[in-house]
Amino acid sequence: MSYTAAEMMIVAAARALAGARTVFVGVGLPNIACNLARRTIAPDLELIYEAGVYGARPARLPLSIGDPTLVTGATAVMSQADLFGLYLQGGLVDVALLGGAQIDRFGNLNTTVIGDYAHPKVRLPGSGGACEIAANARRTFIIMRLTRRAFVERLDFITSPGHLDGGDSRQRLGLPGAGPDLVVTDMALFDFASPDREMQLIAAHPGVTIEQVREAVGWNLRLADHVTETPPPTPDELRVVREELDPEGIYR
């Protein structure tokens, strides 16, 4: 059964949510990944949206982070003071999904500028809630396409802290959450399981070679002891994505 790179990303992220109770999620691909996890390996998973929604039951695919379909029928809708203070900083978010324009080998993320801050080449959206999500969620998953422009040796700006300079530098700074756990891309999966917390390749998606992955990363990529092949999406996973979650194929 054929599938797209986006579908592989959705499925890989969903699988990694096994065991999580709450996930802090944006719209688009991460939203579909979380809803796929709820319908498959994590039926009790509750979605927390930055707009102030806990336990959403959207009747349609939400078009934005604050779509009214996320509100109607939700378990709780709250102020952003409560969302960020009680839920996120309070420690109730098990996993958060983040993305960025640039990522470095320690999972630090840039969503602020390309170029110099005062005279940017490209002005990106900025932090939004990412800076506090990266600090406070128990674990974060990063979801982004793998390109040499994105996976860089040195960020133009650190918006959201990952493992900082690696090792225990994150704990030394007193950040409550454990930091990035997994990077899901359209070509491969990475983790930070080594003691120095450097990103390492753990699996390449079917049809992708380790050499291709190395080529797309802007530093000398480390490999895990056993690099595997990502199991492809199952027919059941694809059916849920295509028939239930994204019937119009917007994120395909």
Partner: protein
């Protein structure tokens, strides 16, 4: 959806242990006397009791000897007078001494907020010029990095258990509360365990029909106890009134420790549970506390399909 319903007996047996810190909150409204009585009945000891306004329920619990320490902001029988049993413990050590740790109301609220949001402290414009920081070394100051001026701070408070009374919840503990909401939300998020006690268990669909009304999500709830009239002699907005007659009677009873002991014997140890207490109180007395209806105007969330 996990069904977290327990009897009050089982909820207290499971979650409230000797030596723990316990907060039964509710500002005048929704004070869970049912839980307090069950803690007395199960003869818990050496508790640290936490509450802004200890009210009659802590007067009773402290007279019964469950507590070693009290963290609070106002000792009073609201609208009536003193909390005589607590005064007796403080002034005369009867039935045993009681350590006090006191704040102002906003200081207590701030401690809950800091505890709930994992902050190292909560800043507030109280305490300057007061003797309170002199007798409570946990009230400190920090320097405002913008103006250089000092500002008071209080540290986080994370009770081992919070017990929250409310009007309605579903079986997994998604809880809605209206009328005086006090600091029920803040203490629930600050605590390590939470027992929710409600007048009504409702279908999940009722909760989901009005998500802005949900104050406590089931996510943080450990047990749901269905206990109608569980807040008597305090009240639950829309369900029953305060039984003011009892608040006046307690002022008389509580002036004498032996009378308090007798009252506890009759109304707490002498009844196995809340249902028996209510039966003893009599349906007529409870019926007199029922208000006439005053419904909220409708609100529509819209179905977005």
């Amino acid at each position: 959806m996990t069904d977290k319903r327990l009897s009050m007996r089982d909820a207290i047996a499971r979650y409230v242990q000797d030596g723990m810190s316990v907060a039964i909150e509710g500002f005048t409204a929704c004070i869970c006397f049912a839980a307090g009585h069950e803690i007395i009945r199960q003869r818990r000891r050496n508790l640290t009791l936490i509450r802004m306004t200890p009210d009659l329920i802590y007067d009773q619990m402290i007279a019964a000897g469950v507590a070693r320490r009290l963290i609070f902001s106002y000792l009073g029988n609201p609208g009536v007078g003193s909390l005589n049993a607590i005064r007796r413990a403080v002034e005369q050590g009867i039935p045993q001494p009681l350590e006090l740790e006191e704040y102002s109301h906003y200081g207590m609220v701030g401690r809950y907020i800091a505890g709930a949001s994992r902050l190292p402290f909560f800043p507030l414009r109280s305490y300057a010029g007061s003797d309170m920081p002199r007798v409570n070394p946990l009230i400190r100051t920090v320097e405002d990095p913008y103006s250089g001026a000092p500002i008071a701070v209080v540290p986080p408070l994370n009770p081992d258990v919070a017990i929250i009374h409310a009007q309605r919840a579903d079986v997994s503990g998604n809880t809605q509360l209206w009328g005086l909401i006090g600091s029920q939300k803040e203490v629930a998020f600050a605590a390590r365990r939470r027992i929710v006690v409600v007048e009504e268990i409702v279908d999940e669909a009722v909760i989901r029909s009005d998500p802005n009304r949900t104050i406590i999500p089931g996510l943080i709830v450990d047990a749901v106890v269905h206990e109608p009239f569980g807040a008597h002699p305090s009240y639950a907005q829309g369900y029953y009134d305060r039984d003011n007659q009892f608040y006046l009677e307690w002022d008389r009873i509580s002036r004498d420790h032996q009378q308090v002991v007798a009252w506890l014997e009759e109304w707490v140890y002498g009844v196995p549970d809340r249902a028996a207490y209510l039966e003893k109180l009599g349906a007529e007395r409870l019926a007199r506390l029922k208000p006439a209806p005053a419904p909220a105007a409708p609100v529509d969330y819209g179905a977005y399909q």
